[in-house]
Amino acid sequence: MSILLYVEHDGINVNEATLKAAAAANQLAEHMGNVEIHALVAGSGTISVAEQATKIAGVAKVVHIDNAAYENPLAENLTQLVQNLMADYMVLIAAATTTAKNFLPCVAALQDVMQISDIIEVKSASSFSRPIYAGNAIQTLETSDEKLIITVRTTAFETAELSANAAITDITFAAEEATSSFISAELSESERPDLASAKIVISGGRGMGSGENFSLIERVADKLGAAIGASRAAVDAGYVPNDYQVGQTGKVVAPDLYIAVGISGAIQHLAGMKDSKIIVAINKDEDAPIFQVADFGLVADLFDILPELEKAL
Amino acid sequence: MDFSLSDLQQMMQDSVSKFIQKDYDFETRQSLVNSDLGYSEDNWKLFSDLGWLGLPINAEYGGIGGNLIDTIFLQEELGKGLVVEPIFSTLMLGANLVQKHGSSEQKTTMLEDVISGKLKLALAHAEGPAAFDITQISTTARKEGDKYILNGHKSVVIGGASADKILICARTSGKVGDENGISIFIINPDQQGTSTRAYTTNDGMRAADIKFNQVILDATSLLGEADTAFNAVDQVLHEAIVALSAEAIGIMGVLIDKTAEYLRTRQQFGNAIGRFQVLQHRMADMFMETEQAKSMLYFAAIEMAENKTNAKRAAKMLKVKIGSATRFVGQQAVQLHGGMGVSDELDIGHYFKRLTSINTLLGSKDYHLNELIKIPAIRQ
């Protein structure tokens, strides 16, 4: 019995988050006695994704299903597909992206197991650590379920290398017609790196004062090749779209460099970025909690500092 | 005794505290303090929508019919946010007096308007030497035909600048010191002969000094009956002590929480300063003072709500205890925060300022201590 790794993709490329989940899958495979890892690529016209997936370190086989039903990752369709495959697998593992968070619990319920959400450490074949209370405590648990359904917090694992050479097995599956349907997606177009996997992230908070002022951040981000994030306050105020949100309920990021601008540092925001390697905080309030986690703090007015920073880089 | 809260009290507390957490942070409060009006009309509308303005008003006038004990939980939560909207002056002083002394027609019309947020009230009772004891007032209303001629001066009328109607305590008969002969007049702030000087008090609230020079009033301006307002006013002022003390309890709770959190985070000599025993002792003393004051508050609130023989005595004792506890807790909170404890940017100093104001309102600690000597306790 082997591990099934769900591969997240945009129809063209394997999502970097999946490579992190693959690293976790590799650790788990070792604990389970070097069982095989199979990667599942479900999509429409996704042979190039499947080919990329063959290279993910530790993957022995790529299971590929090419069907219009999977063009958009509708939970109902993915659940049926994976539920059917689970007869042959001990473990279903995926990066904790919104797609996986959407359908993995469905599979777990149908398998009658408790999902293990957002793991940050593989302790043994049945024991894992995961953050609770917005990361204010770490829970280590031992599961008694026979099958494991796991989502992986990507910031806690290295990126798996692209060194393997697995075979692709094409499968077909006749799903029942779904009672839900995809209508449209409004995805943010950006030339910048993906927030979740960027090496450098620069985020703005309520201190930015307006959506227009985010252009100050954009100019610095351009210089650094950084992704742009935001605190919940900035998103709620409508300065930037929801997918910019870093925090307990937004994206969890751990770049090499995280620059927090005009962000006070509520627990919920810290939960989303405190694993970053280097944290820089720029805030005019000397007592802002963000300074308690920052490696380098600069107490100053961001409207003076951002243009200066742009020039200095 | 069972001090657990009723569902109403618990849920009201949750609702108010949620409002303060979400919509009334310190910055918001400071911007209101610095605004022209000194508070927010939108908030006032919201308070009305949420039914807070009807809490102490009887159900027959459209209110919730809460008693003084229910009221203290509202006041305690408002204290935590240093809320500047004129709830205390409108409800605890104005509406309460209307309810206790108004004619049935006045009650119906005025209290309905209070609940719907249309009518803000203030009570002008205090004068220089008569901060609490209204038998000592020198403002007079002399009856001439079917009119009254009002002369005198009122100081520190809380909410006096924003009130739509002001209730004036004036002597219509008898001499200074008599309980008989006190009447209440309802006047408009712009009444001819009235001059108002509005100002911001130390704690960011608004008050006014009001002078009356030959103000001519119709008999319809009288609240309830003439000459007989003493008991109602005295009762209202003692109940107001309880409500105001509840606000102080809320503030002291916040100061303890904030100071404890500061001691846990502020590092000195390689340690969080909260690890130093001397500072722990101070925190323990702050906590004890607050708990004692809180016990006094509950005692006085129950005595007053149930109209016990020693009720007013209990209210005075409460004011004395609040006087010493707030001073101690406020000073310690400021000192433990160091210099920033008094800076304008940090909320700590503002909480302390409010506590200091509370101590001077409705008679100081020394005043009530002196009064207590005169009133013997009656064995029940």
Binding site: T99, M114, T140, D243, T249, F296, L309, L313 | D7
Partner: protein
């Protein structure tokens, strides 16, 4: 149409929990408890749907200790019509909760179940999805907009890349994200009314669901804390420092 909204009693959003020294859990003695914020958003959405005429009844349910009654009363004070308390002193995992909810949804014949997307204590984010799978109905998770029309519900979902719109036929499951709405404050008259609204109590055992936890908690520990670093005086110093550690 009937809407079912499950609500969970959790440590208040503003409380910073502390891990117990013996590693057995977090210290929640005398800590303020409140309704899970996402559940509050779910309750608000259900009430708005009722106010808009899309629903006739909003039923709230909570699984847990007796005190969950307070959480239910809060939902009633916001405007829900009646409440069900499923009592148990045991720690109930999302899977078991989903199974109980499936039974209740069937019993009550609810057309729409709105849940919070995750609870802020165990951060699991799975109950809604599990419920959808168990009753075999479609789900619209992480919703930032919900529109009910006839027998369809359209949901705008917050996904990693932005927003996604899906349409589902009723009955369906929706889980609420942060920006779905701003929950109202319970007004005093409604708090008074809530006292008279029906709240029925059931025992978890009544539903014939196996409550035995699948996860054994071995330890609860403090996360690795970051040490505060240094303050820099200006941009020049900041850039120099970042260069010296190789961050840029």
């Amino acid at each position: 149409m009937k809407i079912l909204v499950p609500v969970k009693r959790v440590v208040d959003f503003n409380v910073k929990v502390r891990v117990k020294a013996d590693g057995t859990g977090v210290d929640i003695d005398n800590v303020k408890m409140s309704m899970n914020p996402f559940d509050e958003i779910a309750v608000e959405e259900a009430i708005r749907l009722k106010e808009a005429g899309s629903a006739d009844e909003v039923i709230v349910v909570s699984v847990g200790v007796q005190q969950c009654q307070e959480t239910l009363r809060t939902a009633l004070a916001m405007g829900a019509d009646r409440a069900i308390l499923v009592k148990t002193d045991a720690l109930v995992e999302p899977l078991a909760v989903a199974k109980i909810l499936a039974k209740i949804a069937e019993e009550e014949g609810t057309n729409l179940v709105i849940l919070g997307k995750q609870s802020i204590d165990d951060d699991c984010n799975q109950t809604g999805q599990m419920l959808a799978a168990l009753i075999g109905r479609p789900q619209g998770t992480f919703a930032s907009e919900v529109v009910v029309e006839d027998d369809k519900v359209t949901v705008i979902r917050e996904v990693d890349g932005g927003l996604e719109t899906i349409s589902m036929s009723l009955p369906a499951i929706v889980t609420a994200d942060l920006r779905l709405n701003e929950p109202r404050y319970a007004s005093l008259p409604n708090i008074m009314k809530a006292k008279r609204k029906p709240l029925s109590e059931k025992m978890a055992e009544d539903y014939g669901v196996d409550l035995k936890p699948r996860h054994k908690i071995i330890a609860i520990s403090e996360p690795v804390t970051r040490e505060a670093g240094i303050k820099v005086a200006d941009v020049t110093e900041l850039v120099a420092k970042l260069k010296s550690v190789g961050a840029i």
